[in-house]
Amino acid sequence: MEKSLSWREFIITRLIQTSGYSAILFVALIFFFLLREGLPTLTEVDMSSLLNIRWYPIEDYFGILPLITGSLVVTLGAALIAVPFGIGTAVYISEIAPRWMREILKPLVELLGGLPSVVLGFLGILVLAPFLRVFLNLPTGLTALTGSLLLGGIAVPTVVSVAEDALDSVPRAYREGAWALGATKWQTIWRVTLPAARSGVLTAVMLGIGRAIGETMTVMMVTGNAPVLAIKLGSLFSPVRTMTATIAAEMGEVANGSTHYHVLFFIGMVLFIISLVVNIIASSVVFRAKKRAERILS
């Protein structure tokens, strides 16, 4: 009996350990694969042509700057929408809404998160883009802004559910302490609950941004995909082409092992590195925040 229990224990521990390590293994393998397929770009294409502003791969123009700026503009716009809306909704659901309201809102937000992005893309093409063109008097409604609005909508549920969990796990004693000192509800939320849940809220924001920058189908349908360098203020109101849409639109076509193929993987590498940097920044901020909290407590 004793022996079989320890045996079982051993196997279960190993299984859990393997699944834990497999996550690391998969990330490493994916990165290795990206490097193997993407790095030949650096020998096949000059740096100057890679940093050019013209993307037209079938004639060997491989300037990736328009794609990078395009992704950044759309993602930034989406973050500006998703972060205030997402955190606001999370605060309302966790701190203000009465219990019955919370029971309705939470599943609804999660339902929104489950909407297929292609459906949102259709809404964008048929409703949002024509509306924006007329409303803002733009040449075309297929712009970075259209993409940002839809991506914001896609990122909001992610931000809400993670931030709401973080706010929920703040001990009740913190709020009661603040109320006991005579703080209003707003002061409690702004000065006590949100700072206490800071690391979770920040994780929510980062996950939301990650969701937005990696989203493909919606942006491909509504941003117009014109590879224009997006560094002017008006770029938000003109068509852009994102890295994800480029990979999705062109990967099916390229000959395996061609320069174009390698450049597409190189773009994938850039995307991977960008999300890695975002994650590292986020976790270092969270780490520092923790240390300060510990200092105060000690």
Binding site: M220, G224, A226, P227, P239, A249, E250
Partner: protein, 296 residues
């Protein structure tokens, strides 16, 4: 809350049930036919509707044959032929030299068959007063030389250029025939702010909605509620609208052949299918779908 959950559960259960039953019925019907011969057919999005119509008709006459048709673009189809995953690759452009080289290094010998002809229609919103353009003017619009409709006799509106993605055979054909006017040394490119849309449907819905837009698409895909531009080969010559007659007498400038490629000369069931495609019966379907039949 509980009620909401059980409601969701019930609807999802019903949904799955319907899916399962509908799948089941279609499976059983195909199983009873016991199809013996398969043809895999893949490639150009321009041809996909035509290929589907052919496949449907052919399968209803030959119950022992099953033809699966998918789109994805000319390059995708040819790549699949090179990799040996399809029997017939549809292409709206000729196979490129490097694709032939890649095929041969894979032991595949692509053989070309002209199966229909297609005209590219240049389309604008019905509210746009412009209805005639020369090839040179269209080239200048797409290369970015003209940016306002007044420059080609229209209203004071910015021009929004729409194009298919670069993996589309239609895109490459339009670049070579219209932007570069057929000249091999011409290095004109699409203006950088040309919108590259991933589907024909994307172009059509944007042109339908946006009076600033100009787009192009296969004649078979242009719905009646959009305005098709009459095109003159050069300034002073007659403006011609695309139609079966004007494509066949070569007076409409932007027309091309559509191809299917096989690995080596076609044999067996694939040969029978290709022969049928060139028959009068199949070419009648070509005309019905707005393409141009191959002249014998």
């Amino acid at each position: 809350m509980k009620r909401l959950h059980s409601f969701l559960l019930l609807t999802s259960f019903l949904f799955t049930f319907f899916l399962l039953t509908s799948c089941g019925s279609s499976n059983s019907s195909s199983a009873s036919d016991s199809p013996a011969k398969y043809i895999e057919n893949k490639g150009s999005d321009t041809i996909v509707n035509l290929a589907l119509a052919w496949a449907e008709k052919y399968q209803s006459d030959h119950s022992d044959v099953r033809i699966s048709v998918t789109g994805g673009g000319s390059g995708t189809g040819i790549a699949a032929l090179v990799n040996g995953t399809v029997d017939l690759a549809n292409a709206s452009r000729k196979i490129k030299d490097e694709e032939v080289a890649e095929a041969q290094s894979n032991g595949v010998e692509p053989v070309e068959h002209i199966i229909a002809r297609d005209a590219i229609a240049v389309i604008v919103n019905p509210n746009n007063p412009v209805s005639e353009l020369t090839l040179q003017q269209i080239s200048d619009i797409y290369s970015g030389k003209y940016t306002n409709w007044t420059e080609v006799g229209g209203e004071d509106r910015p021009i929004v250029r729409l194009s298919r993605e670069t993996n589309s055979g239609t895109h490459v054909y339009f670049l070579e025939t219209v932007l570069r006017l057929g000249s091999k040394d011409d290095k004109t490119l699409f203006s950088m702010d040309t919108l590259l849309l991933p589907s024909s449907e994307g172009i059509i819905s944007e042109v339908r909605d946006n009076p600033n837009a100009i787009g192009y698409d296969g004649l078979g895909y242009v719905p009646d509620d959009l305005k098709t531009i009459a095109i003159a080969n050069e300034a002073g010559s007659a403006y011609v609208l695309p139609s079966i007659e004007t494509v066949n007498d070569k007076s409409y400038a932007i027309a091309r052949d559509l191809y299917m490629y096989t690995n080596g000369g076609p044999t067996g069931i694939v040969k029978e299918y290709l022969d049928w495609i060139l028959s009068d019966e199949a070419q009648l379907i070509v005309a019905e779908l707005g393409f141009v039949p191959v002249l014998k």
